[in-house]
């Protein structure tokens, strides 16, 4: 491998596709997805994080991606189809540092058999190597070889060669082992990249993750899913969002009935890895991303018929599943496959927990988190008593969002459940 003399000082880099290919069949969504996967190929080997910037954001990203032709205001004019395909600028303080340009006169393809067009993912991985500070390599299996070597396989399965990993780690060190337990199962693979569709229809308005008030939150194989309406975000164990833009619920969860408009609770069942999504008085069981069987009644897990649930979580400490509704909760014994007797109980037994939580989940480190609005309550591993400094704003910790503004009009954290015992509170109408 060869290293340029420059490297990024920061470890989180922003990127945005500023212009898209005009003469290729790839949709904007596919191009963005391929860029995400190409950057991720470098990120997972180095701990570098990459965040896509909204197209409306006025800020300049570190890596600005353009499809251009012929002379395009830099010292590397393109030469039409064939010949030079793309280039990128090494890290640095200059505004063009890191920027990556693809020749728009190439026929950019994804998933085509070799010989048809030029595989955009393969070239993007190469160019982002430059954008991170790598020069060309003569190693036979390196992605940094100067000549195009054809497609490199499916973006979600691609792994850098040893030569490229070593070069990258010279610059940025090895990826830190996440402090979390290694999830027992691989994270769910993202849905297959959409087939080459006509240029994207204007994308539907999506909710802002920084508004909080999620419908459901679940730790699914080490990743935290935040559900809101027909959308969801994914947070990787490293703490990095897969994308600031939400994914579509029904495109990912294959078989989820179209009439299910909102997921009210979710959890991953430890004993068999199934994922359960709850809506209304029913739930659906998924094996990986595929629905397994028909809807099941919530009553099966011990709730009164017709009731819905606010939050569901599985507590590793005892293997029991807790189902929360309002100020009450039920407990279900997964091993015995039956509800535990003596429930529902009052939620105040989880000292400090908010009533009617948006959802509850257990992190990879075993701590229990109650979420409500834009706040979270943390219960240290094995404890049923919230940390004294709970609640805390969830934005900065979970979603790469600013803390809610401190202005008096911003919603105060909902009152935590009072400590058990006689309550002498005087409740006026406006409390």
């Amino acid at each position: 491998y060869a290293l340029s003399s420059s490297v990024w000082k920061k470890r989180t880099l922003t990127w945005r596709v500023q212009s898209f290919p005009q003469s290729s069949a790839l949709s904007q969504q596919t191009v963005r997805s391929l860029m995400h996967h190409a950057l991720t190929a470098w990120g997972i080997e180095s701990g570098l994080k990459f965040q896509e910037m909204d197209s409306q954001s006025p800020a300049e990203p570190d890596i600005l991606i353009d499809f251009a032709r012929a002379y395009h205001q830099d010292s590397y004019p393109f030469d039409g189809q064939g010949g030079t395909l793309a280039h990128a600028f090494f890290p640095g303080e200059h505004s063009i540092s890191g920027d990556t340009h693809f020749d728009d006169e190439e026929i950019w393809t994804f998933g085509s058999k070799d010989g048809e067009g030029t595989d955009l993912f393969a070239v993007a991985v190469h160019e982002f190597g430059h954008a991170l500070g790598l020069g060309h390599s003569s190693a036979p299996d390196s992605i940094m070889r100067p000549f195009y070597q054809g497609p490199v396989g499916h973006p979600t399965e691609y792994r850098l060669s040893q030569d490229d990993r070593e070069g990258l780690q010279q610059l940025y060190g090895k990826a830190p082992q996440t402090p979390y337990d290694e999830p027992t199962r691989k994270p769910l693979a993202p849905p297959p990249l959409p087939p080459a569709l006509p240029p994207d229809r204007p994308s539907l308005p999506v909710p802002d993750r920084c508004d909080g008030n999620f419908d459901a939150i679940a730790n699914i194989r080490g990743e935290t899913f935040f559900f809101k309406g027909p959308w969801f975000w994914r947070l990787q164990p490293s703490g990095q969002l897969v994308s600031p833009r939400p994914a579509r619920l029904h495109r990912f969860w294959e078989g989820l009935p179209a009439q299910v408009k909102v997921i009210q609770a979710a959890y991953a069942r430890h004993r068999d890895g199934r994922i359960l999504l709850f809506s209304g008085s029913e739930f659906w069981v998924f094996q990986d991303r595929r629905l397994e069987g028909a809807a099941r009644p919530l009553a099966e897990l011990g709730l009164p018929p017709g009731e819905k649930v606010d939050a569901v979580f599985s507590w590793p400490l005892n293997g029991k599943t807790y189902l929360v509704q309002g100020q009450r909760y039920w407990r279900y014994d997964e091993a015995a496959a039956r509800p535990d007797p003596g429930y529902p109980r009052d939620l105040s037994l989880w000292e400090g927990a908010p009533h009617t939580p948006d959802d509850v989940t257990v992190s990879n480190t075993g701590d229990t988190y109650f979420f409500k609005g834009v706040y979270y309550w943390r219960f240290p591993k094995g404890s049923v008593k919230a940390e004294p400094d709970s609640p805390k704003p969830m934005g900065p910790q979970w979603l790469d969002c600013p803390a809610p503004s401190a202005d008096p009009h911003s919603p105060r954290p909902p009152k935590a459940t009072l400590k058990p015992g006689p309550c002498n509170c005087q409740c006026e109408i406006n409390q």
């Binding site: 491998y1 060869a2 340029s4 010949g83 395909l85 060309h136 003569s138 070889r145 000549f147 195009y148």
Partner: protein
Amino acid sequence: AQQPAAQDVSLGVDWLTRYGYLPPPHPAQAQLQNPAKLRDAIKVMQRFAGLPETGILDPVTMATMHKPRCSLPDVLGVAGLVRRRR
């Protein structure tokens, strides 16, 4: 081996200069590209291209110079380059 045509040598030298294998020509010094330097430059290019390192601008090497590739130079100038030898 068959001697490359003058035009090929000229195109080859331009290509090798563009991608950093040869120093850009300096009109004032008009330093001669001595044949040994040219041969070494061709060998390094052949290594990057995965070709037999003959040091000669043979037809395969010339054809490779027309293949699709990245615009960036292969040799970044000694100052900025840290190359790891196996």
